[in-house]
């Protein structure tokens, strides 16, 4: 379904954010990427739909090689890739409905988009999704009037209305409180399963990753340092991801580092 091979990204600043990342996401699969801040998780996700241009490597979505598409073809490919952002990415000054329907822009003419002349079918679907994410009745509220949890629900609705094959989700809950985080995650996973969409999700909280994901990748300094089922993510794997230590080679573990590993459990 999504196949990434040898992906490298070096920013113009010289930051090597990704140093050759390869992995696959299968149909209807939920894959979590975990790793410390600065590991390259956001960069990875933004490279998949080429919001950032990858420096090297290939990305296939089904049989489409995303990395070699022209601008026009890329726009068509993006219609199949839904995206959910950490800071929601809603257009503040547009209404909830406009935000949701902006997920259909790829299927609309510029003139109709400008005149807010949306197909009836899209509007019907938008209402349906809004009530699924529990936001019915907010259609005409401006996005910046909503709470964080509500905004993320609208963000999810915008991605889902695209009818994407895959959802790219970048730390959807780290701007939310724990209770809201849990609800938003449950909602996201429910919808994905209901609609049969694969999910590639960056996640900060390890416990959420182990709970919701089928497969987990650990990213550190732009490299995949762990790969396995959620159940396989043990303490030593976490150490490797978050502290860059390979416990098998490490003989002496000082008190100091013991302290840090308990910290990590609470993340």
């Amino acid at each position: 379904m999504l196949k990434i091979d040898g992906l490298k990204k070096t920013y113009s600043t010289g930051d090597e954010a990704l140093k050759g990342v390869s992995f696959e996401v299968d149909s209807s699969e939920i894959v979590a990427i975990i790793g410390p801040s600065g590991a390259g998780k956001s960069t990875l996700i933004r490279c998949v739909n080429r919001l950032e241009e990858p420096t090297e490597g290939t990305i296939f979505l089904d049989d489409v090689e995303v990395t070699s598409l022209s601008k026009k073809e890329l726009r068509n490919a993006r219609r199949d890739i839904g995206m959910v952002f950490q800071e929601f990415g809603l257009v503040d000054r547009l209404t909830v409905m406009e935000n949701v329907l902006s997920g259909r822009l790829g299927y609309m003419s510029s003139l109709n988009a400008f005149r807010r002349n949306y197909p009836e079918e899209d509007i019907r679907r938008a209402r349906e999704i809004l009530s699924t994410v529990d936001m019915a009745g907010y259609e005409d509220d401006r996005a910046d009037e909503l709470s964080g949890g509500q905004r993320q629900r609208v963000g999810i609705a915008r991605a889902v209305i695209q009818n994407p094959k895959i959802l790219l989700v970048d730390e959807p809950t780290s701007a939310l409180d724990p209770e809201t985080s849990r609800k938003v995650m449950e909602l996201l996973i429910d919808i994905a399963q209901e609609e049969d969409i694969s999910v590639l999700i960056n996640i900060h909280e390890v416990h959420l990753a182990t709970r919701f994901a089928d497969k987990i990748f650990g990213l550190r300094d732009g490299e995949v340092v762990f790969e396995g089922l959620a159940a396989e993510l043990d303490e030593s794997a976490k150490d490797k991801i978050y502290r860059g230590e390979d416990p098998e080679q490490e003989v002496d573990v000082s008190d100091d580092s013991e302290l840090q590993s308990t910290d990590i459990k609470e993340i």
Binding site: M97, E98, R116, I123, R127, E139
Partner: protein, 260 residues
Amino acid sequence: MWNRFDKRDNIRRYGTALVGLAILIVSWRVMNVNYEYLLTAHYEIYDLLYRMVPPDLGYVNEIASPLIETIHMSIMGTALSIIVSVPIAYLAANNVSPHWTLVYFGKFIISVTRSISAIIWALIFVVMFGPGALAGIFALAVRSIGFIGKLLSEAIEEIDPIPVEAVTATGGNKIDVFVYGIVPQIKPAFIGMSTYRWDINIRQATVLGLVGAGGIGLVLDSAITRLYWPGVTTILLSILLIVIFSEGISAYLRKKIGGV
């Protein structure tokens, strides 16, 4: 079904657009444009460029001294306006003004001097002092009173009252309060706005000569009257030069000492 705009919204939106369009069309009609001029415009522009290029560089000798006069006018005009605007801003700032009637008086002076362009002030001062730099200096000074006075009085109105109270509490008189309580708080903004105004005044000073108030504008006017276009180009280039020069200095000073 859902629509971004309901009927009332739509009437308002199209109504606004229609009114806007009507105003535009009426305005255009009022201007009574002579379309025949437009037909010859491209020829005139070509002709103008043909006459203006190349510039007469020998003309530099003749324009050097009016150019320097322009700079002097801008400095004197700004300096004079600084001297006058400080007391006026003090009167117009409602948190420190001695009396509320003086607030209105100060604000009145500020609005009147601000609402009339420097070039119009120059027309008036040329009648008073005759043609020459003096009229230009007064024109720049009076127009700048409105500018500096407004910004300065707003800066004074926004000061932190605590230092002022502290100086008052230690037994300071009005002058002490002004010097120790107010001045330190507004100094960077004041330097910034004065420098900025000087920068504007150089640009203004280049045109005051068009109505006889001294500086490079006088030479520009006479070159145009004589249709001496290569000289006009030289003058325009020299203006470009001093404007860039003053903008550089003003940017440097504001970065170093000014707050604006």
